[in-house]
């Protein structure tokens, strides 16, 4: 379970606070752009230090740890794969910075098969379509096998049908592997489609998550304002 304990972040005239727990299998963070969704994700992933407060995982503080030591993996908006490496070499980096052994190679092939890219490990990312690149990146985070997966508006470059397909795949595979997911999105329909709980980020604060159905069925004032804007 992820806990954000009295987190505050200040940078020039940007301010953000968060003090809540996130425990659902798939949680979506939605809110207007510039509200601080990605900032929150970056603090959880370890790219950004909060001005004050702590990030905890299962009761252990993780705020001081470097990104790679945290129990999280992350899918960025873009640059999820090194373009100069084959897909296989990219996936191997999820496990080791050395040459992968036979066992690891087998796991790579299995992960590729899971995301529907069986046999494509020898290609460079540039030789893949946008959807295939997303799948390869997903295989990479699955191989990292961290208990929490962060999605920073992934697949936003894909068309709606392809994006839905990818989100379904993420939700299914994460659930199969027992990985919790925290997704930043500015598309409420994405949240509605895959999230168990939704939390709103607006007016400089993260609001506690609520079950998806109730969240949209009885929208709060802030949510009304956001959806009305959108």
């Amino acid at each position: 379970m992820l806990e954000l304990r009295r987190i505050a972040y200040h940078q020039e005239d940007f301010h953000l606070t968060a003090d809540t727990r996130i425990s659902a299998g798939f949680t979506a963070l939605i809110g207007p752009s510039g509200a601080g969704k990605s900032t929150l994700l970056n603090m959880i992933a370890g790219f950004l230090a909060p001005t004050s407060g702590q990030v905890l995982w299962d009761g252990q503080e993780i705020s001081g740890l470097p990104p790679a030591k945290r129990p999280v993996s992350i899918l960025f908006q873009d640059n999820n794969l090194f373009p100069h490496l084959t897909v296989r070499a990219n996936l191997a980096l999820a496990m080791t910075t050395r040459r992968p052994d036979a066992d690891q190679l087998a796991r790579i092939e299995a992960a590729l098969a899971q995301v529907g890219l069986g046999g494509m490990g020898g290609r460079r990312p540039a030789a893949l379509s946008g959807g295939q690149q997303g799948r390869a990146a997903l295989a990479r985070v699955l191989l990292q096998d961290r208990p929490l997966m962060l999605l920073d508006e992934p697949f936003s470059a894909l068309g709606p049908a392809l994006r839905s397909e990818m989100l379904d795949l993420v939700a299914r595979l994460a659930a199969e592997q027992g990985i919790r997911v925290l997704m930043v999105s500015h598309a409420p329909e994405d949240a509605r489609r895959v999230a168990d709980e939704v939390a709103l980020v607006s007016q400089g604060a993260l609001h506690p998550p609520q079950p998806t159905q109730g969240f949209f069925a009885t929208p709060s004032k802030q949510l009304q304002a956001y959806l009305g804007d959108g």
Partner: protein, 509 residues
């Protein structure tokens, strides 16, 4: 927006500050040694201030012209495909890496009193064009530096992700305003700064083509103070003035150049949709033709003049050539080892010291430092490598840093979440991302070291002459034909080394 502040802060920079201090020390130490030996600084006279003024304005005009002409040339090269384009880009780099004396001979064969241009104007009954004077100095500096400016700006163009061009093409958006001008704002000031600083320390060009004492540069005044008057105090003072000028101007211009604003593209060949119209194609063809004619004709003249001389080259010359190649390779390795951790803003500033410092004062200072410790001749090789590396460092850093910054910005977070740090970060992420600029930088360093005459006249014991030194010896012995052969050999080896390294990096350009 908060996102902007994100990625870089959490990434290791492997003690760049310490490296920067080390490199700065390698420059400042020797200068200090000279001042210490001189017992203080000397006074400057009116002739020195004339030299200062001439140095400043010729450097500004030369750098401005080089960059201004490089923009259309680089643009034409970046958006037109034609057979031999790769070879042309490599050849266009040649003048920058030529030893001054070779280049001046080539320029004179074209623009001199008996040169091609005057033969043409003579045949047409037009008045003779004289190369000597301010315009000759500037012409030569543009000849030397247009290739550098073109390459730096071309790198900038190639670094714009192909996706951006696709997007602009699909939107019918103006490529110039959207993509090119921001890139130029980022690249051009740095290119100007480097060339300005190079021209600040110009010496032999100004002296040969300047047509007289009007074209006296600070570096010449230093040479005079050192060699003719053995006035170390004055030499050191002038060297400090030159250093301050170089650092001051470079600092101002580097601070002006805005931070990197480009994301990463995938490694596709760059395909563009602009520049396909007839007028644009014609205009590009004219620019490429101009650059090729201006830069390659003097080279062709060197080749023609040198061929007969190759036959009569003495054995010593071939030995010197071998020695120069090994020195060049050593200097290249050392430069890259120094440059990679230094490719930060602080590092780049420290690196600029290397080109802004007077070679003569640097050599003298190193001599004073080394001499109590060992026989200077024993230190000749390490000192040569070190000085060559220091001289090449500013160029290498200018080439590497924007690309390294981009690689860090684009892939730093991915590397961090995968736990790729330290040496593995270089091996897996940064070095492969830097392949193209690294190849270029290595080629440049090797070629510059080949052409280096050496600030080490003090260290040499005469046993280990380099090829440029051998060239001067041949000239001093009236062996002009052999000297032209040696010039051709030098040209071939410099270009060959550059081509080999650059090819590795340019494979996908």
């Amino acid at each position: 927006m908060a996102q902007r502040a994100l990625p870089l802060s959490s990434l290791p920079r492997s003690g760049a500050g310490l490296w920067a201090l080390l490199v700065a020390g390698l420059v400042i130490g020797p200068v200090t040694a000279v001042i210490w030996r001189a017992g203080g600084l000397g006074a400057l006279g009116p002739a020195d201030f004339d030299a200062l003024w001439f140095t400043l304005w010729q450097a500004a005009v030369s750098a401005g012209l080089s960059v201004a002409l490089a923009v259309p040339v680089a643009r034409a090269l970046s958006r037109q495909r034609f057979p031999g384009r790769g070879a042309l880009i490599a050849l266009l780099g040649a003048p920058f890496i030529l030893p001054v004396i070779v280049a001046v001979l080539g320029l004179l064969a074209v623009f001199g009193g008996n040169g091609l241009v005057n033969q043409l104007t003579g045949a047409l009954g037009l008045p003779r064009i004289d190369i000597y004077g301010y315009h000759g100095v500037i012409l030569a500096h543009v000849f030397f530096n247009l290739p550098l400016a073109t390459r730096l700006i071309l790198q900038g163009w190639l670094a714009i992700p192909a996706e951006r061009f696709r997007l602009a093409a699909s939107l019918g958006a103006p490529v110039g305003r959207l993509l090119e001008r921001p890139m130029l704002r980022r690249i051009a000031p740095g290119a100007f700064a480097v060339i300005f600083v190079i021209c600040l320390t110009s010496f032999a060009v100004a002296l040969t083509l300047g047509g007289g004492p009007r074209a006296t540069t600070v570096e010449l005044a230093i040479y005079q103070a050192f060699k003719f008057d053995f006035d170390l105090a004055k030499a050191a003072t002038l060297a400090l003035v030159q250093l301050a000028l170089g650092i001051g101007s470079a600092l101002a211009l580097l601070l002006l150049s805005p931070p990197d604003g480009f994301g990463a593209g995938l490694d596709r060949l760059q395909a563009r949709w602009d520049g396909r119209s007839r007028p644009a194609g014609l205009c590009d063809a004219l620019w490429i033709g101009f650059a090729a004619l201006f830069l390659l004709t003097p080279l062709a003249m060197i080749v023609l003049a040198g061929l007969p001389g190759l036959m009569v080259l003495p054995v010593e010359t071939w030995q010197a050539a071998l020695r120069s190649v090994s020195v060049a390779l050593g200097a290249t390795a050392l430069t890259l080892v120094l440059a990679l951790p230094l490719a930060t803003r602080a590092g780049e500033l420290a690196g600029l010291l290397g080109v802004a410092v007077s070679g003569l004062v640097l050599g003298t200072g190193l001599f004073l430092i080394v001499q109590p410790l060992m026989r200077p001749a024993e230190a000749a090789l390490p000192v040569t490598l070190l000085v060559n590396a220091l001289m090449a460092l500013p160029f290498v850093l200018r080439i590497l840093r924007p690309e390294l910054d981009a690689a860090r910005a684009d892939f730093g977070r991915l590397a961090a979440t995968l736990g790729i740090t330290g040496f593995a970060l270089w091996r897996i992420v940064l070095l492969p991302r830097l392949r193209r600029p690294l190849g270029f930088a290595a080629g440049l360093t090797a070629a510059l070291s080949m052409g280096d005459l050496g600030v080490i006249a003090l260290f040499a014991d005469g046993e280990h002459a380099t090829l440029p030194l051998q060239l001067y010896r041949l000239m001093a012995a009236y062996r002009m034909e052999a000297a032209q052969g040696a010039a051709l050999l030098l040209l071939t080896l410099s270009l060959g080394l550059f081509w080999l390294f650059d090819k590795g990096g340019r494979a996908n350009a």
